[in-house]
């Protein structure tokens, strides 16, 4: 099963679609998940997911905004979509009785 950050990354990349690349994914994670995402965490996770066959990456175009340097484009593979779906469903199942999922008041321990 995916790790939490792996799921967040795949979801961000899937949401960006054709325009998913390193800096854009990082920005999306920071904006939507509200967490800091370092370049180190981003690229090592991308590499790991690519080795597992869950992502595919390739070198994209170079832009002036990037000082004429290329982007690393990212696409979620069908296997990646399946793994993300599995993680999402597992989280839904495990959360079904939790107070924050059912809007019931939680039990204090």
């Amino acid at each position: 099963m995916l790790g939490e950050f792996e799921y967040v990354l795949i979801t961000a990349a899937a949401g960006l679609g054709e325009s998913a690349y390193g800096a854009a994914i990082r920005e999306e994670i920071e904006k939507v998940a509200g967490r800091n995402c370092s370049i180190g965490a981003l690229y090592t996770t991308i590499e790991r997911l690519e080795k597992k066959g869950l992502l595919k990456t390739w070198m994209g175009e170079a832009t002036a905004q990037r000082g004429g340097r290329a982007k690393r484009m990212v696409r979620v593979t069908p296997k990646g979509v399946h793994a993300a779906k599995e993680f999402y469903e597992a989280m839904m199942r495990v959360s079904r009785n939790a107070s924050w999922a059912t809007s019931k008041p939680g039990r204090a321990s």
């Binding site: 800096a23 090592t44 070198m59 990037r66």
Partner: protein
Amino acid sequence: MSSLAEMATILLAPTDRDVVLGDLEETGVIGWSALGSVLGLVMRQQMELWRAWQPWVASSMAFAGSLLLLGVSFGLSVNSRHLLRGERGYGSVLCEALLMLSWAWTSGFVVGSLSGKTRWVSGILCAIPCLSCVLRFHDTSLSRLCVLLFLLPAVIGAVQGVRRARLSHRTALTLAIAMTALMLVWGGRYMWNWFLFLPAWWLVAHAERSEPSNKKVAG
């Protein structure tokens, strides 16, 4: 762009270098923050490599192999001196020299092929016993560098291992059998030296069973 961060990207693969510098430029990260980002990626990439078993085996082999080969190099130097004095036959010293060369080369090849990206760690683990031995060497009749005879073939093997990763099955098997036969002829006086055959038989077990695909393409 911070020149320090740009310098630090030398530690990254060429494709990663371009991508990371582009990302930093695009997001406007500069100075120490940019340097921290690059070094953070380098650290994480190195740590990621150690999640696999190969770097552990390679670095253990580099350390243990260099300890044994230091002894073999010293033994060969002493026996070469005896040969020059006429106290030993050519055959025995030649066997020992060939064995040392093949042990060193196969050990280096396996270390290089298993952990190309962590070779600097394997190198340090090989250098520690070598330095320690050279600094403590007391035999005045021999140069202290005589214990490092194995280094050159080991380094050549490591470089070839990084480039090629595997030998053909026929080459690996021939090499392993020849080495074992040589050891039997020589006498195999020191039991620990039998551990130096592990890399040769490892190469046999992990050899290419079929012709490399690039030959098929070329044909």
